[in-house]
């Protein structure tokens, strides 16, 4: 299924104020992979996601989504394939009802209203909040908002799901529910997070970013257990891997 491949070739990005946020990144993500992108605050994770989505355009290098290079021209097509879930769901839920929010994307692609309705129902059911469809987003709880934000992206039937810190501010149960939901999504997933335990459970592959460059790229289980690498990149091993109070093991 090479048409869903996401590829980044020698990417550089400099913010207008001169800050070099991405300094030569190259990787290839295949269809169905779930990839965690981790790194310290300010490493460049969010910037990388924006380059993938065609929100920003690289100063050098290119991004290819299913063989199509992401340029100003191809962006509308590429975006239909990619869905991005923001860190703050309030930024993403801008309509007055959950239904309208989830229908926003499909309507913009000029689908029939019956098809729109089908998709909205499907998406809301998938995240388990069909009963909230007529509610106003500002009255939802944090977890419900997050679910609605995901539904608003799922209704566009993306092949690739990008998420920026999806578990922040959720209580442990809601976090678990979200992780289960994401686990069930069979397309490509690219997730950035400081919740390394979530990355550990959800992603088979991890890319570690440091100062806008790739510090490591490989199987999650290996990278996250590498205490030295983690420490070097301003990170820490997932808590589940750290000292076990039963067997007394310390630091992996």
């Amino acid at each position: 299924m090479s048409h869903h491949k996401t590829e980044v070739r020698d990417l550089y990005y400099v913010y207008p104020d001169g800050h070099k946020a991405i300094n030569g990144i190259t990787f290839k993500i295949h269809h169905g992979e779930s990839v965690g992108i981790i790194g310290a605050n300010g490493a460049g994770k969010s910037t990388l996601l924006m380059l993938l989505m065609g929100v920003l355009f690289p100063c050098q290098g290119e991004v290819l989504v299913g063989e199509v290079p992401v340029t100003k021209k191809t962006v509308p097509v590429v975006r239909q394939r990619m869905g991005m879930v923001f860190q703050d769901p309030d930024d993403q839920l801008f309509m007055t009802t959950v239904y309208d929010d989830v229908a926003f994307g499909p309507r913009n692609y000029k689908l029939e209203e019956t098809e729109v309705e089908r998709r909205v129902h499907e998406a809301l059911e998938m995240v388990g909040i069909l009963h909230l469809k007529d509610r106003a987003p500002f009255k939802l709880s944090g977890g419900e908002k997050r679910a609605a934000a995901i539904a608003s992206v799922l209704s566009m039937k993306p092949d690739i799901l990008l998420m920026d810190e999806p578990t922040s501010a959720l209580d442990p149960k809601s976090r678990r529910r979200l992780m289960k939901l994401l686990d069930g999504f069979e397309h490509t997933k690219i997730i950035t997070s400081h919740d390394l335990d979530m990355v550990f459970e959800l992603c088979t592959r991890t890319i570690v970013i440091k100062n806008g460059q790739i510090a490591a790229d490989g199987p999650t289980k290996e990278l996250l257990a590498d205490a030295e690498l983690m420490d070097d990149c301003g990170l820490e091993m997932p808590l589940a891997l750290q000292g076990c109070p039963v067997c007394g093991r310390k630091n992996g």
């Binding site: 991005m84 106003a136 500002f138």
Partner: protein, 269 residues
């Protein structure tokens, strides 16, 4: 502070009420909007010495409130809060207009009549606006505006403002709370902090707006605001509007209480 909290409750309350399912809620939003407008025009067209003629018009808010199963108390509370300017202006009348009028043998200054008339009008107009939103909701009202051919740019912008009001009010109230925590016994924000406190809030808002725009663009937004189809106007909607309009016009032309009163006093005397 408590002011902001109360405003958040008000918006939430009205939003909740608007999601009820009653006969009134099911009336077409555009029809409700137009009916309210006709009502308002009729109410304000009464002169400044009018009281009795206005009374029959009370039936409109009362009927809507009962049929829509709306709670009386919060709506009354809102009306009181809305009153100060109107009362402030109204109360000038007894001062400037002393001419005495005799009503039922009692001598009353004409200014007081004007004052009463203004107060009554305030009650009627304020309740009409609140009831419109409490039985329609902002989203449906938005679609009514679209049907009136109000440009979609304006409608979308209006809905966005509505959507983000509670987000930003909560943000503002958190900032004020943090401020109050470190500045006991201060009623408001000290002038030395005006610029940085409000300015930082503004910059954050600006950044949020950019993220919102980004989120919209990522979902295919190109400046078009696509809504679903509008619900059609049914016979019952037309009947609703026609019924009320006829009543309003009758109430405007004939002083109903006076008719009733004359009937009564005529019978009794």
């Amino acid at each position: 502070m408590s002011n902001i909290m109360n405003s958040i409750f008000d918006i939430r309350l009205l939003d909740d009420l608007a999601r009820k399912e009653t006969i009134v809620h099911r009336i077409h939003p555009l029809v409700k909007f137009l009916t309210t407008f006709i009502y308002l025009i009729v109410v304000v067209s009464f002169g400044k010495y009018e009281i009795s003629g206005l009374l029959p018009l009370l039936i409109f808010p009362v009927l809507i409130m009962t049929l829509a199963e709306l709670p009386l108390r919060p709506i009354l509370k809102r009306m009181l809060i809305a009153a100060p300017f109107v009362v402030g202006i109204g109360i000038m009348n007894p001062i400037f207009d002393h001419q005495a009028v005799s009503i039922g043998g009692l001598s009353v200054s004409r200014g007081w009549i004007t004052f009463l008339s203004i107060t009554l009008k305030s009650v009627l107009t304020v309740s009409a606006a609140l009831l419109l939103i409490a039985t329609t909701g902002m989203d449906k009202l938005g679609s009514a505006l679209r049907m009136l051919k109000i440009p979609r740019l304006f409608v979308l912008q209006l809905l966005l403002t509505y959507r983000y009001i509670s987000v930003l009010m909560e943000e503002v109230s958190r900032v004020l709370r943090a401020y109050a925590m470190r500045s006991p016994q201060q009623k408001g924000v000290h002038w030395s902090v005006w610029g940085s406190l409000a300015g930082q809030l503004l910059i954050r808002t600006f950044e949020r707006a950019q993220r919102v725009y980004l989120a919209m663009r990522l979902r295919g937004f190109t400046g078009e605001y696509n809504t679903g189809g509008y619900p059609g106007i049914a016979a019952r909607d037309i009947a609703y509007m026609a019924g009320w309009t006829v009543f309003f016009v009758i109430a405007r032309i004939y002083n109903i209480p006076m008719l009733i009163g004359s009937l009564f006093t005529g019978v009794i005397l």
